[in-house]
Symmetry: C2
Subunit: 471 residues, 2 copies
Amino acid sequence: MSLTIKLRITPSISHLYPNPKTQKNPTFSRIPIYLSNKLTTPLVFRTKRMASHVIKSSLIEPDGGVLVDLIVPETQRGLKALEAEGMAKVRLTKIDLEWVHVISEGWASPLKGFMREDEYLQSLHFNSLRMENDGSVVNMSLPIVLAIDDETKERIGGANDVALVGPDLSIVAILRSIEIYKHNKEERIARTWGTTAPGLPYVEEVITPAGNWLIGGDLEVLSPIKYNDGLDSYRLSPKQLREEFDCRQADAVFAFQLRNPVHNGHALLMNDTRKRLLDLGYKNPILLLHPLGGYTNADDVPLDVRMEQHSKVLEDGVLDPETTIVSIFPSPMHYAGPTEVQWHAKARINAGANFYIVGRDPAGMGHPTEKRDLYDPDHGKKVLSMAPGLEKLNILPFRVAAYDTVAKEMAFFDPSHAKDFLFISGTKMRTFARTGESPPNGFMCPGGWDVLVKYYAGLQAEEAAPAVVSA
Amino acid sequence: MSLTIKLRITPSISHLYPNPKTQKNPTFSRIPIYLSNKLTTPLVFRTKRMASHVIKSSLIEPDGGVLVDLIVPETQRGLKALEAEGMAKVRLTKIDLEWVHVISEGWASPLKGFMREDEYLQSLHFNSLRMENDGSVVNMSLPIVLAIDDETKERIGGANDVALVGPDLSIVAILRSIEIYKHNKEERIARTWGTTAPGLPYVEEVITPAGNWLIGGDLEVLSPIKYNDGLDSYRLSPKQLREEFDCRQADAVFAFQLRNPVHNGHALLMNDTRKRLLDLGYKNPILLLHPLGGYTNADDVPLDVRMEQHSKVLEDGVLDPETTIVSIFPSPMHYAGPTEVQWHAKARINAGANFYIVGRDPAGMGHPTEKRDLYDPDHGKKVLSMAPGLEKLNILPFRVAAYDTVAKEMAFFDPSHAKDFLFISGTKMRTFARTGESPPNGFMCPGGWDVLVKYYAGLQAEEAAPAVVSA
């Protein structure tokens, strides 16, 4: 049991770290062993070496034309920190801090801080923002906002700037030229999720307990956000990812957003996508396998386990480390279907991806109070393909893969022999892993499957433990 | 009491009809006496005379560049009606028919029928539609959809076209190349109103009782929609309005959407707007006083009474008939605040208005279950000013007028002597009218006020009647 707890909180992932013996070409190396098969030295040194490089944006421009970077230069940190000490303080939750991370690295470019009311209203009503300089439109489907309570609002009074304080009480950032406006939670929820039914994970975790005011402003982040969970080196910023794509001389980058373990059906899709891009004449399409790393529902497999599983998928050769980059997308998850999938795609534009694979029912979930999907499974794809500001992104619709019981492998579903196909849902997969039962041979690479089995075994031991103790 | 009933159902508005004696310039005349002071012959003849004219769109282009007109030419009506006889039938409610009217005359240009799913999703998520031909964006904030039930869907089967049948069982229109898709009422309501609380008038009246499917397609309307309520001649189409603006040689058209009686504060605002437009160098700004004529909440003053009241306002000289056109906007009312105000503005672009006066809390109402406004009163103006597809429209913010107890007239509120101002809300105004108490002198022209007093007196008599009968 203690192993499981350790795995979940400070994961044992030493096997993910660099192994100099497998190194082939240090110039191209950014990603730790098994995720890229190439990294030799900690990422931070390399980033320094790259700092003076101009970021090429040959594949796709970041939204607004310039990648936002809100990290205060090291030379100014002392002075800014001192200044922040004298400001009214706003306490951040763990999830607020994830958003600070997201904004600071430019995932939400051109957004330069938490939304002021004009941006909030545009996001809520139009899923997009109009740029003031040239009237062009960028996608912005989720309100990226910071809530404060009445007491904090009172304490801020008429101040122009406030200091943002992390859950560990350290000053994380300054928010400049602030604007405080009403947090109409009901309207925010209704327009973001298309329902106000109780039981939406992000609503219950984040919005309901939050204050009745929103505070917007320009963000200055005192130093890069780190989690010290052993996974920070996998959290490549959009800037670092663009550098990596340039280093690899990618002429197409296709992003795959996920928050689940990778099975062979996913791999089939990703490998097939690469093949199709090669057929289209691209010479070196690179896959950005981009697991979401911020807040997820407790039912989802935790990030560290997923990263370990992804590592095994590359180690087992199911995906090719030469043409795959695995990195963590730091955003929290809303489970807001067609509204959220736009955010998932838009953020990847900022990281340099010009192709985006959209799944069936992306960011969807069951309706919290009714026996049906919350969203029509096709709406995510449809909405994404029509979304304002995403015209420059190539949307690749997901092809459904299932287990072909005759060929004994995952294959694209073929309705002409439908009866041969077995659909293994996420729930079924978790049941297999929980009960220790093996899925059909060929469903997932053995190394990846073992990671899941161990995780669920640990979880069950942990769940059983209190009863044992109290007995 | 019988008089009151008559007033409400088949209103006695003969005094609104043309009076040749007051006619000044027949060339310019489109609007009946007291509303324009100019009309001599029924509108239908004049429209015929104008039919061959090219519509000038010098002030502002209709959305999509061409004003949609879906009325079948007279020469084809017989054949189309015959064809429609053989099609599966879809029954329209009274409010569906109002939407057929709206779409058929091009108020919703470039929409050519009830929305198919692609249009519905864009409306719901982006409040706008992207044009397929050139990628430009037009505003479209309300889903304009037709619901059908399971039985009707089954009856339609795999047909390509259906006939739409009015509440009086006559065939009204054909819907071509239909698409049937799910009517997710909860999501539609949440994204349109920003709440799913019970008690929203349009939801209870229209959406909740509607079927679980939506049917979209291209509309062909067999003949112009008429209501035979004595007010049809006031229902000028966007084409007729554009002709009228051209005839009057308007170089600016400012629209005022309303669903309430006009008091002197409104008049002050409208007259002041004209003055400001003159100051800007316009030579002949024309006011489009444009009461909403479709479905309204039972608490609102009925259309016929409002039209009578508006007539008095022109008769009493509060507004100048020379520079004012009063016409009925046939749309039903959603009471959907910032979402709906976009529709109200967009439809007026199609009618040729290039200025739009936006009120405080436009299309707003009290929250149906909480003691607060449903919308922030400023959001309508803000959302409208940022709405995609409305960039070409000049938005004129409403200046708040109140009763100046010193000057004894309606005046723009001046915070420097706030204590002199008396705010007379709609509720207060209705209470005055109901109790027969006079509002402060100068609040509303006497002729207009009398219309309201009579209406409420009749209403009370009617409400009291059953008790008397049963006694």
